[in-house]
């Protein structure tokens, strides 16, 4: 058991990347060499002298803003909103999944039907529809991601819950007269946590990509917020002549996604844990 839990090299690497971006997000004001919103000198190539002993390490964009500073501050936007959006999707997906798995019958049929309806939409169209109808803002990104991800999470939780519902410790808890809420939250959820944590890690990565895609489509965080996807979108028309405008934001998006995927891989390997019951003890 212990040997399997040992993090291997790729996992470490993944964790390191994620940690790096989290640090960037937290320490952005101290790390960023320039104000990410301030116009200095337009379209400067990477590794140019910025005067006063400073450098434009990654160059500047068409409005003359330092790209490195925008990437560092952009980490903030993406980590905060990706985390928030994924968490919201989880709260809703888990609640629905537990209810469906515990009560089964009509509740399950209704919730599953709703989830299938939402899942049958092409995700991207769904995002665009939501954002164009309600406008671009951080909150709406959360709404869009939640709407599109919650049904998938619901399905995972429901499948796990249906299985757990038949386990002895749950049946015992029911016969003991525990409230359904207590059984769902304290008995069933902890036993479903393993797969969910792995899924959450992956989903966090997808949400990062989603925010990038929304930004690229011009539907992400409103300008001038440094948003990685938005930076790619803004730089795209000039990309032939100034590839650095899109190269570095793309690397940022991919690296965070890679880090989260590697992390999820490692967690999946270590996740094969036995069932545990926390709320109720067998008599």
């Amino acid at each position: 058991m212990r040997r399997r839990m040992l993090p291997r090299l790729p996992v470490l690497f993944g964790a390191l990347i994620v940690l790096l971006w989290v640090l960037c997000a937290v320490l952005a004001p101290w790390l960023a060499p320039f104000d990410p919103l301030h116009s200095l000198q337009p379209l400067v190539p990477p590794l140019s002298d910025a005067g006063a002993g400073r450098m434009f390490w990654l160059g500047t964009d068409m409005l003359g803003r330092d790209i490195l500073s925008r990437l560092i501050f952009g980490a903030r936007a993406v980590i905060v909103w990706a985390g928030f959006a994924t968490a919201t999707a989880y709260v809703i997906g888990i609640a629905g999944g537990l209810v469906a798995g515990f009560y089964r019958g009509h509740a399950d049929r209704l919730l599953s039907f709703l989830a299938n309806v939402v899942l049958s939409f092409p995700v991207l169209v769904l995002y665009i529809l939501i954002i164009t109808k309600v406008g671009a803002s951080g909150f709406n990104i959360v709404l869009a991601v939640t709407f599109a991800s919650a049904p998938a999470i619901f399905r995972i939780v429901r499948a796990l819950a249906l299985d757990l519902r038949e386990r002895d410790f749950v049946l015992a808890a029911i016969s003991q007269g525990e409230t359904p809420l207590r059984i769902m939250v304290l008995d069933m959820l902890p036993n479903a946590a393993g797969p969910l944590i792995v899924d959450a890690c992956l989903r966090l990565g997808y949400t990062t990509i989603t925010i990038g895609v929304l930004g690229f489509l011009g539907l992400g965080l409103p300008p001038p917020t440094p948003d990685w996807g938005g930076m790619v979108n803004e730089g795209r028309p000039l990309a032939f002549a100034f590839p650095h405008l899109i190269l570095f934001p793309c690397i940022a998006i991919s690296s965070l996604m890679l880090g989260l995927s590697l992390l999820a891989d490692g967690l999946r390997d270590g996740e094969q844990r036995p069932l545990k019951s926390t709320g109720t003890n067998l008599p």
Binding site: P42, M62, L63, A136, G218, P223, P224, P237, A241
Partner: protein
Amino acid sequence: MFGLKMLSGRRLHAAAPELCDRLIRGEIGRRDFLQTMSWLGVSAASASVFASAVVGDALFPTAARAQEAPKRGGSLRFVCQIQEMTDPAAVSWIEASVVFRNTLEYLTLVDADNVSHPYLAESWTPSDDLKTWDFKLRSGVKWSNGDDFTAEDVAYTIKRWLAPESKSSNKTSFAAVTQVEIIGPLAIRLHLDRAILAIPEMLYAYNCPILHRKFDDMGADWPKNPIGTGPYELAEFAIGQKATFRRRAGYWGTEPYLDEIRFIDMGTSSAAHLAALSAGQVDILYRIGVSDLDLVKRLPNVQLLTGKAAQTIVMRMQVDQKPFDDIRVRKAVLLAADNQQMLELGYRGEGTVAADYHVAQVQPEYFPLPPVKRDIAQAKALLKEAGHPNGVDVTLMVGNTQGTWEQNTAQVLQQNCAEAGIRINLNVVPSTEYWPVWNKVPFGLTYWAHRPLAVQTLDLAYRSGAAWNETHLADKAFDAALDKAMAIVDVKQRSQAMEAVERILQDQAIMVQPFWSNKFTAISSKVRDYQQHPSDYFNLFKTWLA
């Protein structure tokens, strides 16, 4: 007098001598002189000779012209959108007119310098009060189906615009026309209810081609029945794909050089257009954007054409919406705005800086007003006076209808205004979401296309209750000043009258109008004698392929 001739051979228009005096006194420039003379029906050649004698410089620089002898023949491939079209008078896209301009012709032709030339009309004579206009039509013109071109065709076409059931935007622009009278087999007279000077220029608007008198009887579907008086005939038309024109025999005018013109729809990605151009698969692109310039300059075998035009963006505020109903807030926005920086960062410096009153240097009635001087302290003071001591939050809607440079420009304004405590929240929406609400949002960024005359734009956009009045400005003094300017023939006097018009617009602080954006296109290095047109009314009759 002075060798000036009316195209009609009749007596010189009453306003002409005064214009000559002003040119001699140096009060008006050569370009304005020629343009106004052309409206009055004076032959451009005689006016040009007169102007040369007086001012000495030539209007058309010959340096841009090719020195080689033009070559006949060849097929030219032109990239532009091929949109659905049935009635040429009802189209609302200039691209459509670029396609049919090879077959359908207009009464007048306005060149890239805004000078009106005879076309299907050989000459025109306005009455001294500019309310009655006589047009003498060209003789010997035949429709491609063999019919003679007559005054009936012209009267039919113009009456069709004005009919109650007309779907043409000409119904509004020619609303002053009360009667269309046929006064001879090749002569018509327009009766107007108010004086309009620019009638010849207006007749070259993209949706004003002269149609065959049986157009409606023949099904009112031009691509199905493409009869025209022009030198080319439509051979193939497929919406979203291509339109092919071949030169026909029996054209009344000078025979053009090209045997065939193929319009090709390549979608909206300018990268794809440029790739095709650089690979030699196409010859002319309808237009390219400011973001394509760096790439174009690196492409071999490609010429970049740049032109100035009165096209612009306005970040306009609605005078009846909070917080813009307080003029002090609007003034603060203008005081904080740095138009020069917006031009440099937002549009890569490829244009001319403007001063917030929507009249361009390239327009004949332009009167130079000093710009609003940037003054952050005063902007803050005004905001405080208006009850916003801690600044104000506003939302600017941007649709990027012309490209992401709109959003870039807005971001510069956002930075400018932040210094004065005006916090602009940018609401960037897709262009399809912007157009339905462009004149409804309190604070929005709108693109305005070029119009030859500033008064045409101002009449549409800022007159009380005008159809496209997106600022909701309702200022009697402005309306009166505009009326006054519109009725003046004399360029100098008109420009003087425009001072009041422009000053009201600037003082009302209804818009940040940072710059006039240049127009760009890219063509193959094989193309000769192709000229950009400020209104995108391209004409390929003189173009040839080396």
